[in-house]
């Protein structure tokens, strides 16, 4: 008998309703715990460790992470069905890195699809492709980060080189999955026009990819580092101006891709 995949367990740290920046329409985002990368700017540092941990939030210790079944998560997801229907929205898996918990994530996506809910993943693409390949049949949209074309710099800021990511991007694109490339624009890391241009030019070569989103750097995660007793290494950098972001979006557009600032 086939395993009852609604009982598969996974580890999440948040469910966010009325999310309107990670895929089309009104969406519910499921944040899975655990990530392969350690991006210095990460605005969800509590997502990086797979282990359940505590973080100080407004003077109180808060437990981050809980184990849930697909069925339990679906119950929350289903509550906003009327909003998905009206807006063409759905569910987005985020993290951490949703590729780190394939059994749970795939079971969740599969269940969503059975209910006719639009599915998306927001992902670093950092996993063996045979893992990603399990997700693709159940994904309507893949939102994938490409953070830098220079592998050395990539490694310096994210802890890992980028070859696997770039290869996976191509394979995902070739699979026919609807793929949008996203670039978190981080001052001092990848904010220069040539750096963005390099990414856009790479994205342009991916079959079927038409859109690239530039995500402006923000500091909303900074307090969390303190709450976790960690140092925030980028405390010296300032968010970029809207005008500057507009300039970058022109760079992207000149490569022939559509560009949007923000998710």
């Amino acid at each position: 008998m086939e395993k009852d995949f609604t009982q598969v367990k996974g580890r999440i740290f948040d469910i966010q309703k009325y999310s309107i920046h990670d895929g089309p329409g009104i969406r519910t985002i499921i944040f899975l715990k655990g990530c392969v990368l350690r991006c210095k700017w990460c605005c969800n540092p509590e997502s990086q460790e797979y282990e359940i941990q505590t973080m100080e939030v407004q003077g109180k210790q808060k437990i981050i992470g809980r184990d849930v079944t697909v069925e339990e998560v679906m119950k929350e997801i289903m509550k906003d069905m009327p909003y998905y229907r009206r807006s063409g929205g759905g569910v987005t898996l985020s993290g951490g890195e949703a590729l780190c918990q394939p059994e749970f994530a795939v079971a969740l996506l599969k269940t969503c699809q059975e209910y006719g809910i639009h599915t998306a993943i927001e992902s670093t693409g950092m996993a063996d492709f045979h893992v990603i390949d399990q997700y693709l049949p159940y994904l309507d949209l893949y939102l994938m980060d490409i953070k830098h074309i220079n592998s050395k710099k990539h490694e310096e800021y994210t802890s890992r080189p980028n070859q696997l990511i770039l290869e996976n991007a191509r394979k995902i694109a070739e699979s026919g999955t609807n793929l949008i490339i996203r670039v978190p624009v981080i001052p001092t890391f990848n904010h220069r026009a040539e750096e963005i241009n390099d990414i856009a030019n790479y994205a342009k070569t991916l079959p079927g990819v038409k859109e690239l989103h530039l995500l402006p750097y923000h500091r909303l995660g900074q307090d969390k580092y303190e709450g976790l007793g960690r140092e925030y290494e980028l405390s010296h950098i300032e968010p970029l101006s809207n005008e500057y972001m507009e300039e970058l979006s022109k760079v992207v557009r000149s490569s022939g891709l559509q560009c949007q600032i923000g998710g």
Binding site: K17, Y18, I20, I26, K79, S87, G89
Partner: protein, 840 residues
């Protein structure tokens, strides 16, 4: 209909009109009160309905009139912009008491000159013992008055003022003018026989309507004359022509039917302002302006008589004029209705009587006009149903995005069946509009008495804990010692009993006031435009309207739900806290300290308990109790236990987070108010129906309410409308909306109010608008009734608190209406800032 969303530039005239309107603090004027009293003194031995008509006529013949610079639509109730007249026939002593403080009070200050004070002092002498308010008081049962003194409910609105809260049949005046009405009345008169059993009253009523309609015609002719005089003096050629056209319009309407869109606008305006000269009632709502004005607009556009630009300039002028009308309330009411608001609700879109969507070009232009003037009036509303054009909602959402708090969104799919359930025909229900904040009714046929009282649902809960005693006095029935209750059902039943008893007293209060209005202030001018007054030969106040209701509003659903849920869970299921402990925790406000007034109250209660137990209490002991109460008088161990209880409460799921168990509980809580209420009838033969909204009274009335079992501290604001308690909805806007949608909105047919606050970023771009509309649509799919939004950043509001001078025009949504932020009291400002900001 792609042409509908073209943005039209605002004419420079509108800026000038607005600038002049807000140049000074609004002023109180004495002319109406003086003329009214002069007339009353001469009509002592006439029937009341004739005295009202004669007074109206005397006022309109003699009150000073003015045409403001650059106006295209004329007719002002006061000489000073945004000024207000006085209505001593309803009540006056509060104003006399506030002569020296009204200019400096925190909510809605008014300037009043020494001359005006002197005239009014003299006028007021006449009114002692003659007001509706005094008569109503004598009609109320003693236990009702006691409940009011103890702030269980407050019928303040109609107790001290006219009723208003009506939409007349504007359409009819536009079509046949007051001359047409006069003909109708004459016909009715000709059918009367002096031998008819009701001849006397019918005849007097119809005569009074004749006088009132003629007075309105004569008043317009005074404006026609004034316009000619001013035109003669005017050197500017363009303005001279404008004044001559104004003169022409005023000589034709509202006497005759309107021949052009411009005349229709002027005719509408005379009706709108004169209703507010006859009586001080607020929420005189224009209703479906886009529908009854459309034929005139369409004809003039087709024949090329006007351009779209000019049409919207006229509408902008009306929009500005709606802000020119004003009303002074007593200091306490001013906090409850803060923001100089008159709640003139104007609604666009929706269906016709046959169920066909009739959103038209004017519907879009109504939104455009609100974008042009960016003022709190009219209270703009839009009707939404499955057939509402998407681009109409996009247009509406663009207005929402400006942060002005307009429009409010209403769900046809709930309101129409809700009204049918109250006895309206389907055709009438389909043509509903909104009165004031959120109250639906059929225009020109209804005396709805919406907004008839505020009922604080938390106070009966306090009475359960005190066994009917408040401040040492037995003000309600005994429902038993709370400590001895052994099941939640028993506790809940005690709450229902306290509710039922107090609802009955509120009905007594409202009916007493209702009768007093019928006897002392029937309104013949208003009655001329409400079906079937002429047919029945009686005024609206005596039951002349086709549909009669009384709609007092309950509030505190969120706090009551969380409170009852806490008791059910912590006392009876988990058995972690006893009712005795809860009782004590509430008395000492969870140990969080209290102010001197509250300490006094508690001292009284403790002393009276001691006396009841047969103990002697000396003055010294009372002083000791007071000191110990004030200082908290709570040991460290006790405080730790209280904090533990607070922690237990805060860990419970709360209303507003889409937790089905809690939300279905909220539905039951709402029923404790709405179900008993609908069993009562009013003196006009109509039914009571519940509303669930607080205007802005949740702040001042919260200040009269002790701590509650949901962990709400004493004297802090109560949650507004059916919205979740401030800061407790932590799962975002869809979860909050899902919770609210689980209430039974059909039965709360006097309206429910759901406030959400958004950061502007949530509505940015086309996608932001699309998602915002989807949120409304999906909430309405689940049968929510109303939704309104504050879209303004927290930083902006805090900056406005600190630098009010920079934010004179900042409009925010308060609760069912928009108001100038800087005119609100500090505590209400804080409340608005504290409401969860739905950012994301």
């Amino acid at each position: 209909m792609e042409h509908n969303d073209i943005e039209i530039k605002k004419s420079l005239r509108i800026n000038k009109l607005i600038e002049d309107l807000y140049a000074n603090m609004p002023e109180i004027e004495a002319d109406r009160a003086y003329l009214l009293t002069e007339s009353y003194r001469q009509t002592e031995d006439e029937p009341i309905i004739m005295r009202r008509a004669r007074a109206f006529e005397h006022i309109l013949n003699n009150i000073p009139i003015t045409i403001r610079d650059q106006e295209l639509i004329v007719g002002s109730a006061t000489i000073s912009p945004r000024g207000c007249q006085v209505f001593p026939e309803f009540s006056y002593s509060w104003l006399e008491g506030e002569f020296d403080t009204i200019a400096t009070r925190s909510s809605d200050p008014f300037y009043i000159s020494e001359d005006t004070k002197n005239i009014l002092k003299d006028v007021f002498k006449y009114w002692k013992g003659r007001t509706t308010s005094e008569l109503a008081t004598t009609y109320m049962a003693p236990e009702t008055k006691m409940a009011m003194e103890h702030n269980i409910f407050t019928p303040g609105n109609y107790f001290y003022n006219g009723v208003g809260h009506v939409t007349v049949c504007y359409e009819k005046i536009l079509k046949i003018g007051f001359e047409g009405i006069i003909n109708e009345v004459k016909k009715a008169l000709s059918k009367l026989k002096v031998s008819d059993m009701d001849y006397v009253k019918r005849n007097e009523f119809l005569q009074s309507v004749l006088i009132s309609c003629q007075a309105a015609i004569d008043y317009a002719n005074r404006y026609a004359k004034l316009a000619v005089e001013e035109a003669k003096k005017c050197n500017d050629k363009t303005r001279k022509e404008e004044l001559m056209l104004i003169a022409h319009n005023c000589s034709r309407v509202p006497a005759q039917g309107a021949a052009t869109f411009y005349e229709a606008c002027q005719s509408f305006w005379f009706v709108q302002m004169l209703l507010q000269v006859e009586s001080s009632g607020h929420s005189i709502s224009p209703g479906r302006f886009d529908q009854y004005m459309f034929p005139y607009y369409e004809a003039d556009i087709k024949s090329g008589k006007i351009t779209k630009e000019f049409a919207i300039e006229l509408m902008d002028c009306i929009w500005v004029k709606l802000n020119d009308l004003n009303k002074a309330r007593d200091a306490a009411s001013a906090e409850g209705f803060a923001g100089y608001s008159l709640f003139q609700n104007l609604i666009a879109g929706g269906q016709n009587k046959d169920g066909v969507d009739v959103t038209n070009e004017l519907s879009y232009m109504c939104i455009e006009a609100s974008m042009h003037v960016m003022l709190p009036q009219p209270s703009l509303s839009v009707r939404v149903w499955n057939g509402t054009p998407h681009e109409f909602l996009i247009k509406a959402a663009k207005l929402t995005r400006t942060g002005i708090g307009l429009p409010a969104y209403y769900n046809d799919e709930v309101i129409i069946p809700g009204l049918v359930n109250r006895g309206l025909t389907l055709a009438d229900a389909r043509e509903y509009n909104i009165i004031g904040c959120v109250e639906p009714q059929k225009a020109g046929k209804t005396e709805g008495w919406h907004d008839a009282a505020f009922f604080n649902m938390l106070r009966p809960l306090e009475l359960v804990f005190s066994n009917g005693i408040d401040q040492g006095k037995q003000i309600s029935i005994e429902t038993g010692d709370v400590e001895k209750m052994t099941s939640f059902e028993e506790f809940f039943e005690a709450y229902q009993k306290q509710m039922n008893y107090m609802i009955g007293l509120m009905v007594n209060a409202d009916n007493a006031i209702d009768v007093a209005h019928g006897e002392r202030c029937p309104l013949p001018f208003l009655s001329s435009m409400i079906e079937d007054c002429i047919g029945r030969g009686k005024s609206v106040q005596e039951g002349g309207a086709v549909y009669n209701f009384t709609g007092p509003q309950g509030f505190g659903i969120a706090n009551m739900t969380d409170s009852l849920y806490a008791i059910k869970k912590l006392v009876f299921e988990d058995r972690k806290v006893t009712l005795a402990e809860f009782k004590h925790a509430l008395e000492v406000n969870f140990g969080k300290g209290i102010d001197s007034a509250a300490a006094e109250e508690i001292t009284k209660e403790v002393a009276s308990n001691l006396l009841k137990q047969g103990k002697q209490v000396t003055e010294q002991e009372i002083r000791d109790i007071y000191t110990s109460v004030l200082s908290g008088g709570i040991s460290k161990e006790e405080q730790e236990r209280l904090n533990y209880i607070l922690d237990l409460i805060s860990e419970l799921p709360k209303y507003g987070n889409d937790v089905t168990e809690v939300d279905m509980f909220a539905r039951e809580v709402a029923y404790t108010y709405s179900k008993p209420l609908e069993t009562f009838r009013n003196p006009r033969g109509g039914q009571y129906q519940a509303g669930l909204y607080p205007v802005s009274a949740n702040v001042p009335l919260g200040a009269q309410t002790g701590a509650t079992p949901d962990g709400r501290f004493a004297f802090t604001p109560i949650a507004d409308g059916v919205s979740p308690a401030s800061g407790r909805d932590t799962n975002g806007p869809t979860a909050a909306a899902n919770s609210v949608a689980k209430l039974d909105h059909y039965i709360a047919s006097n309206g429910t109010l759901f406030n959400q606050k958004f950061h502007p970023s949530a509505l940015s771009g086309v996608r932001g608008l699309e998602n915002f509309i989807s949120l409304i649509r999906a909430f309405f799919d689940q049968k929510g009734s109303h939704m309104q939004f504050n879209v303004v950043s927290r930083d902006t509001l805090i900056d406005a608190q600190n630098h009010p001078e920079n934010y004179k025009n900042l409009v925010v949504r308060v609760a069912g209406y928009s108001a100038l932020f800087t005119s609100l009291s500090r505590s209400l400002q804080d409340d608005i800032i504290a409401r969860t900001e739905q950012g994301f």
